[in-house]
Amino acid sequence: MKAMVKPLPVQEAYEDLLQRSLSRIPCDLGRLLYLASTRDYNTGNYHHDGLADRFSLKVARSALEIAHRQAFCKVAVLSLEDLVRDLATYLQCSRENPEEFLRTWQRLEPYRIAIPMEVNPTVARLFASNVRLALAVLRLRRESDHSDR
């Protein structure tokens, strides 16, 4: 007889989140920003209606928090080349004007909201620094594309 091991509710919620929501997003940076957007700016608590309905508010919150931290760690250790590729995919999927997108991201640095609360300060700095560099690389590529034409 096989022993059935029931997954913990948070683990179940986490897998549900991966399957239903995160798998539809084509890049790591997109997944990270999506997860960060489920966090309340004032309280730092995470909320996802669908997940809270299927599980509970507390379980959904924990699953989102874990997923956010994992997504962040994944992006933080991407090589610069991979991050540039990922950012280019994100830019393409956003369907925004690339010039405007790059300018806004360089000025407002909206990616800073993607940093989880309890994260090592060096990792947070490396992440922000890498995104700044990736933006500069994409801008340089666009400028050289324009000058080639």
């Binding site: 760690c73 933080a76 250790v77 080349e81 309890e118 090592n120 300060p121 700044r132 500069a136």
Partner: protein, 184 residues
């Protein structure tokens, strides 16, 4: 004669960089609370992906990728960005080492069977790690982080090892003293 003056100038530069490090470390202690994480939380997060982060921070492939783009402006930006983060990492590591020793000293004060040889070894490791951090800080300023990956990884591993060893040492001490301090 030039050799003597050169050595003197080098020593002064090194001293200035070390002074800057000491000041930067003091200010990093003040600003640490901005992040809101407790010491324990920070310690845990440092261990979780710290080696990967150190490798990434000091990595040569990223530097090669940027060099391949043949843009002096971008290369300058890369050097500035990586140097700033690497210096921050040295300060954080140095502060972590101080915190580890501080916790150990607090635990040692309550212990009834201190081993002098063991305490001396711990103190020596502490001094060695602090010295490593000081030298790394100076070298990052002078050479940039990309040539220092080996030294940085060594320091990170040593810091983790001393942290783990002291944690084990403290739990062993607690097991030896089940009815220890605190009971009237």
């Amino acid at each position: 004669m030039i050799g003597v003056w050169g050595a003197l100038a080098g020593a002064i530069v090194l001293l200035l960089v070390l002074l800057a490090w000491a000041r930067a470390e003091a200010s990093s202690k003040d600003s640490r609370s901005d992040w809101g994480a407790s010491d324990q939380e920070q310690g845990e997060s440092v261990e979780s992906c710290s080696l990967k982060i150190v490798s990434q921070l000091f990595s040569a492939p990223d530097s090669k990728f940027i060099s391949g783009l043949e843009s002096p402006g971008l290369e300058n930006l890369f050097r500035r960005e990586r140097t700033a983060v690497a210096l921050h990492w040295v300060q954080e590591t140095s502060a972590t080492i101080s915190r580890i020793l501080q916790r150990h000293l607090e635990a040692s004060r309550l212990s009834s069977d201190l081993e002098i040889a063991m305490e001396a070894r711990i103190l020596l490791q502490y001094v060695r790690l602090k010295l490593n951090c000081g030298i790394l800080f100076a070298l990052i300023h002078l050479l940039g982080p990309q040539r220092l990956a080996g030294a940085a990884l060594h320091t990170e591993r040593l810091t983790q090892r001393i942290g783990e060893a002291l944690r084990e040492f403290q739990s062993a001490a607690q097991l030896r003293e089940p009815d220890g301090a605190g009971t009237p």
